[in-house]
């Protein structure tokens, strides 16, 4: 088993993601450069946070045209598990692998703070090991994380259980106060219809070590590893 952590020019959470996997979980993971044209030899892909290509124009708008993203789109359509974290989420939306868009935070400010997340579905490779309704603690750090999508698609997302994480307060209620960026329905993460592609604004890659105040992020990567193993065995 081997997991790819994509490196775009301007990625700055690539190292955090790689360490979460190698130091945190001791699973094999390697960087994959944005100029590569294939993800052959890897079993899953992590698109890390940062400011790919400077995030000029729109977050993820330019990255979406890079050779590696074209390869990831192909792999994702063949069912490979793909997670986009923060900037990675923005890229997945721009690339059309996930519906909707991430727009400027309602506060107009970059926001860096810990948040509570509620797991809305365990039917993705990244949440398979988590109980529905379970609360997770991890930081957000973004300027454009407000999830937006037209009403029709939003309804579809709900009915198809494609909302993966919601911002909530510590008691598990999704309130206005617990929403750090003005996302519709407190949406923090979603998946595609096939459920193998997940995007989320919060940072599991910054919550895998007790010293960082939370290890909840580990659970997502453990779920992934579990899913990959069971996929291998059958």
């Amino acid at each position: 088993m081997k997991i790819a952590v994509i490196q775009f020019p301007g990625s700055n959470c690539d190292q955090d993601c790689l360490r979460a996997l190698t130091d945190g979980l001791h699973v094999p993971a390697e960087y994959l450069w944005h100029k590569e044209t294939s993800v052959f030899g890897f079993d899953a892909v992590v698109l890390p946070g940062g400011f790919s290509y400077g995030d000029y124009l729109r977050c993820g708008a330019i990255a979406r045209f890079s050779p590696i993203v074209k390869a990831i789109v192909r792999a994702a359509n063949d069912g490979m598990p793909v997670i986009g974290i923060c900037n990675g989420f923005q890229i997945l939306c721009e690339a059309g692998l996930l519906p909707g868009a991430l727009i400027r935070n309602q506060s107009l400010h970059f926001v860096c703070q810990p948040v509570w997340l509620r797991v809305e579905t365990d039917e993705t490779p990244f949440t398979a090991k988590l109980d529905k309704e379970r609360l997770l603690r991890m930081p957000v750090a973004h300027g454009e994380g407000s999830y937006f999508v037209e009403p029709a698609t939003l309804a579809k997302l709900q009915s198809k259980r494609q909302v993966v994480f919601r911002y909530v307060d510590e008691s598990g209620k999704s309130t206005r106060e617990s929403n750090p960026n003005g996302s519709m329905l407190n949406i923090a993460g979603i998946c595609n219809e096939a459920r193998n592609v997940v995007g989320m604004m919060p940072h599991p890659d910054r919550a895998w070590d007790r010293r960082l105040g939370s290890e909840d992020g580990k659970l997502l990567f453990e779920s992934l590893v579990g899913s990959l193993e069971s996929a291998v065995t059958l």
Binding site: L57, R58, A61, I62, F65, C93, E94, P99, G100, A101, I103, R104, N105, Q106, S107, L108, F148, V149, E150, G182
Partner: protein, 86 residues
Amino acid sequence: MVGALMKVHVIVMPKQSVLDPQGVAVRNALKEVGLDTVESVRVGKFLELEFRTPPSEMKLEEVCRDLLSNPVIEDYTIQYHSTADS
């Protein structure tokens, strides 16, 4: 020193259905400084492209749709100008 360049302006605006907190902030700021008859403000992008040889309209539409704007949240308009002097 530039020859006669072909200038194209692309204006990218947030869709009406998308809330535009920046527009709201600007409106409030304008009221603050005494422009109290301002109704609404929307803030978008203005791109000034210069070409050596004009691109095909089709190609231009395509990049406006796929790269310069995001149809989920934005609309765009293209304005053609013959020469570099605006």
